[in-house]
């Protein structure tokens, strides 16, 4: 089982209890009066059968408050996801914090920031590197790259999962686009693992057919589901943090209601993927203050009030096009806010330049951010040994030292974190190295991993079965005229 980090401090609360109540109350009002659109007759029939007022013209289901609160109660506060190697199983919820890899459309050149389509080999290498990173616990859907050379867009998700199964034994999330779930469920079952299923809204207040079909598929396969509603504040959600918290709540709770009707008691992790718009370009302003504040309120409501595990995507995608200072601070401030406010998972490793690019060097450096953020919420122990009063009484004022004490020698590694890809040398040493920086250290670490890391292997039969499933997927998409 992956340990993750265990929060030992009470979560930071950005809202008062009354404000949480007001937001929840407004959410229920919105779902009763406006409802949510579901582009699926099967979903609408299910909702209609369970007391929702369904309008077959505008495809909306108005959801009664009692049904929402019943669905919240049915959703477990913790759930297990089985990896193909039990050492990588994950138990979501409670005070556990995990880290999920980020993703990008393309690979970026670390020197210039120029993005290009990755090859399948680069994709596989990036997965292998992620498998080795200590603080990267699982993968999202189309990761690391959501475009791969010579792979047709419609085959990207199944091919991407196949790569992750072959080069890592960590948990993965499935995708929802174009029936990908059909193949991803089979791929996971071929190697005896579960997936985090996927169901993502199209804000404001709607679920497209793809998402609903995926929800049905993953739930019926017995997989827990990762729900999300990626809205932009001022565009597909109100510009205010309070308003966009309510619409996001409503969108996600509509999915919770739906999924609890499909499979009562199903595990759900709710993702907050709301960010402000950059009011000059119209693009999502990842990495910004609005993300961190939104995540803090979200975690307080979902983890603290609804008791449903939470994920935060804000740290995944800095605005910076380069692996640089801006990217570093954008990721860290949001990751820290997320962790302190009680997130159960944070999407972090490897993303550069909004959703446009990814690089494994960034992932290596982000592993240090994950460790620092995770260790922060674990705090430190206060007991007789750590207080060290007896030792203090031995150390002579002014002349004494702690450096020669067994206490120091045996405990410093537990008390500190030494980053693996950072420059911590003295100035003179740094000059002698030729002025190596964190990217250089990350590069060395990457090379070490590629040279020596071996993921838990799959069997030849499993490998063959993966190929068979991918071929069947290609036939399916060809018959649909998509390939």
């Amino acid at each position: 089982m992956r340990r993750g980090f265990r929060r030992r401090i009470p979560p930071v609360k950005i809202l008062s209890d009354c404000e949480v109540e007001a937001i929840h109350h407004a959410t229920l009002d919105l779902l009763e009066e406006v409802g949510c659109r579901f582009d699926s007759k099967k979903a609408l029939d299910l909702l209609k059968k369970n007391d929702c007022i369904v309008n077959d013209q505008d495809l909306r289901a108005r959801i009664p408050a009692y049904l929402v609160e019943e669905a919240i109660r049915k959703t477990p506060s913790s759930f297990l996801v089985r990896a193909r190697d039990p050492k990588n199983n994950m138990m979501f919820g409670g005070n556990t914090l995990y880290f999920m890899s980020s993703a990008g459309a393309r690979i970026c050149d670390p020197e210039t920031g120029i993005a290009r389509t990755a090859t399948l080999e680069e994709n596989n290498q990036a997965v292998l590197i992620s498998d080795a990173l200590e603080n990267l616990d699982c993968f999202p859907s189309y990761t690391p790259y959501f475009e791969i050379e010579k792979i047709e867009p419609v085959m990207l998700c199944p091919t991407s999962l196949a790569s992750r199964i072959r080069y890592s034994s960590k948990v993965s999330r499935g995708a929802q686009v174009t029936d990908s779930f059909i193949w991803e469920i089979q791929l996971a079952q071929a190697v005896g693992q579960q997936l985090l299923g996927n169901m993502e809204a199209a804000p404001p207040l709607s679920y497209p057919e793809d998402a609903i079909n995926a929800g049905f598929g993953y739930a019926e396969a017995g997989f827990p589901i990762y729900i999300a509603a990626g809205a932009v504040m001022g565009g597909t959600a109100p510009v205010t943090l309070a308003g966009s918290t309510i619409t996001n709540n409503a969108e996600l709770l509509a999915a919770v209601v739906f999924l609890q009707l499909v499979r009562p008691g199903i595990g759900i992790i709710a993702n907050d993927f709301v960010e402000p718009i950059d009011m000059r370009t119209g693009s999502p302003a990842f990495g910004s203050l609005g993300c961190s504040l939104h995540h803090m309120a979200f975690n307080q409501i979902w983890n603290g009030f609804y008791r449903i595990p939470t994920n935060n995507t804000g740290p995944a995608f800095p605005n910076s096009k380069l692996i640089d200072f801006q990217g570093g601070y954008e990721k860290t401030h949001i990751a820290m806010a997320s962790a302190l406010s009680g997130a159960n998972m944070i999407v972090l490793h490897g993303g550069v330049s909004s959703e446009l690019s990814y690089h494994p060097l960034q992932a290596v450096m982000d592993d240090d951010i994950a460790a620092i953020v995770g260790r922060t919420i674990e705090g430190f122990e206060v007991n007789d040994e750590t207080m060290a009063l007896e030792i203090m009484k031995e150390v002579e004022p002014m002349r004494g030292t702690y450096l020669n004490k067994a206490h120091t020698r045996t405990l410093w590694k537990k008390e500190y974190y030494v980053p693996k890809a950072a420059d911590r040398l003295t100035y003179q040493e740094w000059l002698k190295t030729g002025r190596k920086n964190s990217i250089d250290y990350a590069h060395e670490r990457m090379k070490e991993i590629l040279a020596s890391h071996k993921p838990t292997p799959i069997t030849p039969e499993q490998d063959k079965e993966i190929d068979r499933i991918l071929e069947e997927a290609k036939r399916y998409y060809r018959n649909r005229g998509l390939l």
């Binding site: 419609v154 932009v232 718009i277 009011m279 693009s283």
Partner: protein, 215 residues
């Protein structure tokens, strides 16, 4: 009096007075103001907003609000233009839409607004637009430009499908095609046979102008 009314129409755009747009336009027409001059006044207002946006003094919500004012004010003015047998001058007619399977609209809305602000007639088909719907609109409106947006790597190929549809119908030579969206780049645009690619909404407008020789 006409001068004051026209100044009022322009000010209405600059002050984002969406609620009074329709009634102000009807009032202007009822007082006999030349509808072509009304269009000019509204266009001046939105052009000023567009310039402010390019400079970075004015932002997206302001651009959208000013275009809402114009959208509300235009119908009664257009009606009067038709009744009088007049014609509006424009740099060209653009059909704009986000491709099938994609519901992202913000970038497309920015392009539509800026094209209008720069003197184009814009037919906005919205989002999730099927290929045949684009073709029908191009034929109906005799468009000079087709501007397509796609923001998902899974929907960008739909832009290629639409261009192939134009070729099959034999109408490809009649117009220019400009594409845009976050996953698009020049290489992709060239590979699908588009005439232009805009990495930003402003660039898209400049390309539209240069393709029609009106830059």
């Amino acid at each position: 009096m006409e001068r004051e009314i026209l100044a009022g129409l322009k000010k209405m755009v600059l002050n984002y007075e969406i609620e009074k747009a329709e009634s102000a336009a009807k009032d202007a027409i009822s007082k006999g103001v030349d509808p072509l001059r009304c269009v000019e006044a509204l266009t001046e207002g939105i052009r000023q907003i567009g310039e402010g946006f390019e400079k970075g003094d004015i932002f997206l919500p302001d651009l959208v609000a000013s275009s809402e004012v114009v959208k509300k004010a235009l119908p009664p003015i257009q009606e009067e233009i038709t009744r009088r047998g007049q014609k509006t001058a424009s740099l060209g007619r653009v059909v704009v839409g986000t491709v099938f399977g994609d519901i992202h609209s913000i970038g497309k809305d920015m392009v539509a607004t800026l094209l209008f602000a720069n003197g184009f007639e814009v037919i906005d088909l919205g989002v999730n637009v099927r290929s045949d719907h684009f073709l029908d609109a191009i034929k109906e409106y005799e468009a000079n430009i087709l501007a397509m947006s796609a923001l998902l790597t899974t929907t960008v190929m739909e832009q290629k499908n639409v261009i192939e549809g134009l070729r099959r119908e034999g109408i490809r030579p009649r117009l220019k095609v400009v594409v845009g969206g976050a996953p698009i780049n020049q290489e992709f645009a060239d590979s699908i046979g588009a005439d232009g690619y805009g990495s930003t909404a402003l660039e898209g407008v400049a390309i539209a102008k240069s393709l029609l020789g009106t830059a």
